[in-house]
């Protein structure tokens, strides 16, 4: 995959650099306010509830699908080549109220299009994996492990 044609995030913005640094080490972090007992994502400058400091805490390594789409062309060339592909919204365990956007993969090394025929439903359980795109950009992604009943 041509990572230079991919849409990549800035990873050294002080507000969210810790998130990207953690993904490079295979960890998924979100922000937490101890005083308010609240979790926050996407990242914020400080707690929107009390303006106190936010700490980075790990999200669960599994989660449930909140929604998903199968993306078809027309798309930017780097993405079009892999379409149709799955994008999911996942609620990771252990961090109530947090939702994240990610790709559904079949294996951590698979292209994002490989999951296009995987049967999935809202509520299905997924486990966290990581997909490195460049030296500094590693994206958290998800692999389906079971249906919502399990």
């Amino acid at each position: 995959m041509a990572a230079e044609a991919w849409i990549l995030p800035v990873t050294d913005n002080p507000v969210d650099a810790a998130f990207w640094a953690a993904t490079r080490q295979g960890r998924l972090l979100v922000q937490h306010c101890e005083a308010c007992a609240s979790h926050h994502f996407p990242p914020r400058v400080f707690c929107p509830g009390c303006h106190g400091p936010l700490a980075w805490v790990p999200a669960g390594e599994s989660g449930r699908i909140w929604s998903f789409v199968t993306v078809h062309p027309p798309l930017l060339p780097a993405y079009q080549a892999l379409a149709p592909y799955r994008v999911v919204v996942v609620e990771p365990e252990g961090v109530p109220g947090i939702r994240m956007i990610g790709n559904l993969l079949t294996t951590p090394d698979a292209d994002i299009g490989a999951s296009r025929d995987t049967a999935i439903a809202i509520g299905d359980r997924v486990r966290l994996c990581f997909r490195q795109l460049t030296e500094d950009v590693t994206l958290p992604c998800w692999i389906r492990i079971s249906s919502k009943e399990n």
């Binding site: 991919w6 849409i7 990549l8 995030p9 800035v10 913005n13 969210d16 994502f41 996407p42 929107p48 909140w66 929604s67 998903f68 789409v69 199968t70 993306v71 078809h72 798309l75 930017l76 993405y79 892999l82 149709p84 592909y85 994008v87 919204v89 109220g97 939702r99 994240m100 956007i101 990610g102 790709n103 994002i112 809202i122 795109l133 950009v137 994206l139 992604c141």
Partner: protein
Amino acid sequence: MKDQVAIVGIGETSFGKGFTESELELGCSAIRNALQDAGIAAGEVDGVACYTMEETPEFEYARNLGFGDLSFFSRVHYGGGAGCGIVGQAAMAIATGQANVAVVWRARKRSGKASRVWAQTPPRLNNHWKWSQPWGLLRPVDEVALLARRYFHDHGASRDTLGHIAVTLRNHALNNPRAMMHNRPLSLAEYQAARMISDPLCLFDNCLESDGAVAVVLARRDHAQDCRQRPAYIHAWSQGLARGQQNMPDVFGADPFASASAVAARKLWQGSDIGPADIQVAQIYDAFSPLILFSLEAYGLCGRGEAAAFVESGGIAVNGGRLPVNTAGGSLSEAYIHGFNLITEGVRQLRGTAQNQVAGAATCLVTSCDATPTSALLLRN
């Protein structure tokens, strides 16, 4: 400012693809037409408002059209969420004496592929889109499709529900000579067979890509009564950006189905003498078909989860529906001028001059984009 300011003139260009005119030329035509419609001279204009996404600066319009000295100019952000907000802000300027006559417009050449926001890639993202686009959630349709799938799951709706919306709005466009889909029928079977864009959304769940311009002229109540056309009074208006909301994609908040529109709705009804049950016709922002479901519920026109059954039973159709919606065909079948053509259709309904006239319509709700920070107008005659 209840009913103190009115839309006294409306103007449009034709709508289509591949126009040779510049956006400025299209905008000038629409504004000229709106001023003629109102019977107001360009030199009387002293206030303007437009979308931040408008590419032409206000002074170009002012010096080309021959506006007077401007004492009010303002812009509203968030793409399709801005339309009703710029009308409302201009009306507020008139109500508070900052201006006497205001023009508000949208001019756009959207049919060129390069003009689409999602087709323009920055070198690296450092805004809120860094939390969605790197995973290939690139386009507004993808973001709305995520919400549509969740809505299906929560309320038992399906692609059939959206098909009813697309076919109903197409039916409204069939006899509208201004509509890009004039005389081009669409069946539910054709809808179901269409290619997917972002599953569960297909081609016909997406708005048209259009070139064109739309403008309105606003004046104070006493002035409005001397104008050429029957005034459409701005009974109430509102903007909404929900607590914790970010711009698209709005899936991170506590309840993505009670977001910007719910905030705008609360403020709108607070400032109004009438309620959702009194609305006789609605023009609802429809860049994507599911936004009509979400908006019907957010503005209290249907109960939570009840919009699907409402549209499936014909509730939004001009022929026999309890609440006809997007009576000129909307963004799905008339033209996509960033939702601004919904406002002119609302005015035509209140004048009694719409192609698909709702008999005796005296109240019209117009909404802007449900998926972004948004705005709404409550018009009456």
